[in-house]
Every structure is written in C-alpha cells, then in structure tokens.
Amino acid sequence: MEYFLQQLINGLTLGAVYGLIAIGYTMVYGIIGMINFAHGEIYMIGSFIALICFSILGLSGVASVPLAILVVLLVTVLFTAAYGWAVERLAYRPLRGSFRLAPLISAIGMSIFLQNYVQLLQGARVKAMAPMVTGGFVVTERAGFQVTLSYMQIIIMALTLILMAGFSQLISRTALGRAQRACEQDQKMAALSGIDVDRTVSLTFLLGAGLAAVAGVMTTLHYGVIDFFIGFLVGLKAFTAAVLGGIGSLPGAMLGGILIGLVEAFWAAYFAAEYKDVAAFSILVLVLVFRPTGLLGQPEVEKV
C-alpha cells in the first residue's frame, strides 16, 4: 500500500510534466492540424536554457532559492518561446497550403536539426545539476518504508495546476482564445472576419513553447540530469498523452499526461521497468486504433 502510494505520487509528478508538454501538441494541432514533431526538442532546449540559467545564478551567488527559481522560470520561458516562434516561422509557415506530408517532414527535419544543434553547441555528454530544493514531507511510514512527498513535487504539481487554471481562462475569456478557436474552426473565415491568422498561430507556438519551457525547468530541478536526446522520448510520450486525452482538448491533454505518468510509474514499479516505454507506445497505438478521438476529444467528421 505504501509502495503504491509512493508510485502514485511519483506518477502524478511525472504526469504533470507530460501534461504541460502535451498542451503544446494539442494547441498546435487544434489550430493548424499538424503534429509539431519538434515540440519535444523545444522542451529539451528549455531544459538546457534552464540549466544554463541556474548555473549562471549559482556563479553570481544568488542565495535565495525561490528568487532563483522565479528568475530562471521567467528567463527560460522567454528564451524558449523565442525558439518556438522561430521554428514556426522558418519551418512551418512557408508550408501552409503545401502538400499533405510537407509540414510533417519539415517538423521531423526540424527535430533532427535541433537535437544536433544542441549536441554540437553543448556536447553530447550528460549535464547534471545538484538538487536545489531538497526535503519534503513524510506522508506515512510503515515497516520502514517511507512515503515521501518532496517539496519539489509539490512545486511541480502546484505550478501545473496554476498554469492549467490560467490557461483555461486565457482560452475561454480573452481575445486570443477566441481568435484561436476561430482559426480552429475555419482559417479562411477567421481571416475574413479580421483575425490575424499568422499572429494567432505564432502566439500559439509561443505559448506552447513557454509551457514546455516550464516543464523543462521543473524536470531539470527535479531529476537534475539532462542531455540533448531527452526531447525525443518525452516528446513522444507527451504526444501520446495528448492523443489519449483527445487531441485538440486542453483538459484532455492534462488528463492524458497524468494517465501516462501514472501508467509509466506503475508499470516500472510492478512490471518490467525496461519495458515502460513500450507500455506508453502501446497505449498510443491502442487509443488510435480503438478510440481515435481520445477520452475528451471531439469526433472529426470527414469532409467529402
């Protein structure tokens, strides 16, 4: 039971991270109907920028941990969002109206490019950081097994909750949200009714990249180890989360993220840890085959 509880906590933490990244996939898919294959790489770049910022702050002797985290969050979100914007501008925007596979191939190219770009600039070896936020609560304890909820895990879950709440407001209340929903429905009509489609798409990429950057900061703090390749698997799992939740749906992305995180944690704990990635892919395939609309998604009607 205690073991189960501990895995539950770990899974929820992991799931929150997947959920944050999944929102980026889901928003982009919703608005321009493409899988932004390079989104996992944006998360990876966010992790690197976060680690660089933490290191700079560490060298300049900033002692206050909350201040450091806040500053790093801000800086990382800004710089990573710039990457999200640039990727859309360079690799996707010129392709609107091109043939069916073009944006996807371009996205794969972008993903390969960014991986190797970071590898060349920062080296292929693993980068690590000493934990900044340590300690936590002991939730229960029995027979020598402690169930702990670390402060870091609390931060991750709380921040995710806050961001989710903020995002729902953004989408349902603001002009940007309305523009996004209009573009989802019909880009041509949106443009005709005075919505700047290019700007809306750009902002969507900025926001998605910003959330991925937050995920990057959190994982860097929590797990402390990154390399240029982390975006690949995490991206794939976050995409799985988006599909599981129903692609195009924000709450779906969060729900999917948490489910994937839980499945991964429990699978690794109770079954074979080496097959935990296989479990995530299997979910992806099963969902796509049996329920392509996901848990909370809207069915797509084929336009004939």
Partner: protein
C-alpha cells in the same frame, strides 16, 4: 517579411533590406545568447565556459545571410524567386531517358570494383552506399508511391537482419535460403503491424510507425535469450558462391574461391562478391518498383496518395492497397537487413536506431519522393560525403535536418522530383494496341 519586391524602379531599397536583416539578427541574438554564449561543463559541478565571440559570429552570420538572400531574391522576378524553371526542364529532359540512365548507372557501378584503382575501402564504401540506395528504393514504395510516412522503417531492416541471423545460426541454412525467408518474415511483420494502424490519418501513422520502430529496438535489447541483448550476435557466416568459400584456408574437402579459380587469395574478393550481391538486390528492388508502378496495384498506391476519398469512391480498398505497399516496402528492408547482417558478420541493436530511419527517410525526401534517380543521388551525397570528409561527419545530422526543412520550403516534391506517367496513350502497353491509334 515578404521579400518579393525589394526592388522598385528606384533600384535597391537598402533601407528595407537592412531593417529586415537587422530584425533577423535580433532574433538570432535571442536564440544564440545562452546556447551559443555559454557552454555547460559535462557532468555535474555547474562549471561554465563563456564564449561571447560565438554569439557575435552567429548574429553576424544571420545578418549577412539574410541580407544576401534578400539581395539575391530581390534581383529576380517575384514569381520565380524560389522555383528554378531551367532546373525543372533539365530534370524533365533527363527523366525522358530514364532507362538509358539506369542502364548506364548499373553498368558503371558493376565494373567499378574490377577497376585497378579499386581498393578495399572503395569497394566497402560502394557497398555501403548501395545498401542505402536499396533501402531508399524500398522506402520509396511506401513514402513516395503510396504516400505513407513511415518513420519506423528501420524496424523491418532489423527484423530482416535478426531473422536472417537466427535462421542462419540455429538452422544452419545458407544465405540464399535465409534471404527470401528473412524478407518474407519482415513483410509479414509489416503486414501485422500495418493492419491495425493503416486506416489512421497520415500524421498519426507517422508517429505510430515511429513508436513501432522504438518498440522493436527495445524488445530486441531486452529479449536477450533470443537476440543477445545489446551485445548482439556475432559469427555470422559470409555467403558462398555456389559453395565456394572466401577463406584463405578452407576446411578439408572444400575448395575455396581462390583455389577454384587458381588465383592468389585476396581479402578484396569477398568484398567484391558482397558488393555484387547488394548490387543485384538493389537492381531487383529497382526493377520491381518500376514495374509495380505500371501495374494496377502501383497506380492504386499513387491514387491513394493523391486522394484517398476519391480512391474509395472508385472501389479501391484503402487498407488492402496500403497494406500491400507497407508489406512490400518491409520486404525489401528485410532483404537489405539480411545483407547487412552477413556483410558485418555481427549485429546489435545500435545499428537500428531512429537515426537510421531518419537517414533513409532523408534520402527519399531529399532525392524526391517517388524518384528512383533522386534516391541514388541523395544516397551518394548523404552516405559518401560524411565517410569521405570526416570533419563533416559531426555536422551530418544537423545538415540532414536542416536540408529536410529547406527542401520542404523550397522544393517540396524533392530535388529531382519529376513524375513520368506510368502509361501513355501515344505508346500503349506492349503489343495489342499498336495498330489502333487514331
């Protein structure tokens, strides 16, 4: 940032160009500041190396590049800014003589190892390139003809290699028996994987095939009792030429290749022999896919690529049509995998990563989807260049990725994309129709 009209009648608008390049440089500054300017130390410790010059150089390069592009495009008419009509015409003209070109290519390649300049390294490199040409042609059936983006093609390559190896080692079967079996197993694998997922939309299919590729690798790594885990399997025998072995000291009662022909033993004989095997396999792949394109099945592949809804309305069973392309593509990957195993003499999972799939896809995409010549050219450039220029190898994947984006932006059908119709009314199929022209 439309660059179409940088030039009015008043000449070069330097102001606009500088402003545009300045903006680009500003973006570059933001992007480069941290990742270029600061290098993290490996491992932990938080050590940093600051390199401001890298940032300066990156920003300056973007500024100059953007300005140069603006100038270059500005001197051309807006409409032809990206298209290259003379290039298209040249490609079209070349495509008219496709058969001749291919005959010349295969002939030239066939005599290559017999030339006096051919050394071991050269033959070996040529073999490597031919493996990728074959893989490219195989994937071209799936991506180029049927329009199914398969990001896990390497899985079938791996299945072919492992099936071949296990059959050869456990049942002591010869290369020529194992090869078709391995191809068949890979095809079966393709059909089994493809069946549930081929009704998915194109982009979902891509991700799912990517997942299959990774799953295959993970299973190979972890199923150690069968596959030897990440160590892999060693001691795969080299095929024989009608029972003649390529060995300096054959077992008693056996005749080695060099003894049979009464020539001194040379290590290169084996390599040349392997080279001819892959050449024949590649030739088969080429002939097969060219032939298929002219058959109803091949036309159905292309029709489905062009418009699935219209295809269904004409009675084409989309799952069956896609499955055939997927399975046949997998079969050729299986053949190539078998050859790969026998050439290396050992296999392990590290040869079958996503990067491999990406390279094969890059060959198909850059050369021109559906273009057989394009695959040859792209394979030569993408495989040979990094092997010859070692300094370049480090940048290889970076450039592949960048090139894939650039090609999609500038020439989405690929560099050498020119479609030759599978049949012409003027030249109806062999026989039957000749007399009946109006």
């Amino acid at each position: 940032m439309d660059l179409g009209n940088r030039f009015g009648d008043d000449g070069i608008q330097w102001g606009a160009i500088l402003k545009d390049a300045g903006l680009a440089a500003l973006v570059a500054l933001v992007l480069a500041l941290l990742l270029f300017g600061v290098r993290l130390s490996d491992g932990g410790g938080g050590g940093l190396e600051f390199r401001p010059w890298w940032v300066v150089i990156a920003v300056a390069a973007v500024f100059a590049g953007r300005a140069a592009v603006a100038l270059w495009i500005g001197t051309r008419k807006p409409a032809s800014g990206t298209a290259l009509p003379w290039f298209d015409r040249a490609v079209a003209r070349l495509s008219e003589h496709k058969r001749l070109l291919f005959a010349a290519f295969f002939l030239a390649v066939a005599i290559l190892p017999l030339l006096p300049v051919a050394d071991r390294r050269m033959v070996d490199l040529a073999t490597l390139v031919m493996i990728y040409v074959m893989l490219g042609w195989g994937l071209n059936i799936v991506v180029g003809l049927a329009g199914l983006l398969d990001l896990g093609y390497v899985a079938f390559y791996a299945v072919g290699a492992y099936s071949y190896t296990l059959l050869a080692i456990h049942f002591d079967l010869s290369f020529w028996v194992c090869l078709p079996l391995a191809g068949a197993i890979a095809a079966l694998f393709g059909v089994l994987l493809g069946f549930p997922v081929l009704r998915l939309r194109g982009d979902y299919l891509a991700i799912v095939t990517l997942g299959f590729g990774e799953m295959t690798r993970i299973i190979i790594i972890n199923w150690s009792s069968l596959t030897g885990g990440s160590e892999g399997i060693t001691g795969i025998a080299v095929p024989t030429l009608f029972g003649l072995r390529f060995t300096p000291s054959p077992a008693a009662g056996e005749t080695a290749f060099h003894q049979f022909f009464g020539i001194p033993f040379g290590g290169i004989h084996k390599l040349i022999f392997l080279f001819y095997i892959i050449l024949i396999l590649a030739l088969l792949t080429h002939l097969f896919s060219e032939r298929m394109r002219k058959l109803p099945m091949g036309r159905a592949w292309e029709a489905l690529r062009e418009d699935e809804i219209a295809s269904r309305a004409l009675g084409l069973n989309p799952v069956l049509v896609k499955l055939s392309a997927f399975g046949l593509g997998a079969m050729f990957a299986g053949f190539a995998g078998s050859f790969f195993a026998t050439r290396q003499g050992f296999i392990n999972p590290s040869s079958f990563t996503f990067i491999e799939s990406a390279i094969i896809l890059a060959i198909v995409v850059l050369g021109g989807m559906g273009s057989q010549v394009g695959v040859i050219c792209a394979a030569i450039v993408l495989i040979l260049l990094p092997e010859l220029a070692r300094d370049f190898a480090e940048f290889r994947m970076l450039l592949f990725g960048g090139a894939m984006v650039a090609i999609m932006v500038w020439r989405p059908r690929g560099l050498l994309a020119h479609r030759v119709p599978s049949v012409r009314l003027g030249q109806a199929p062999p026989g039957a129709l000749r007399g009946g022209l109006p």
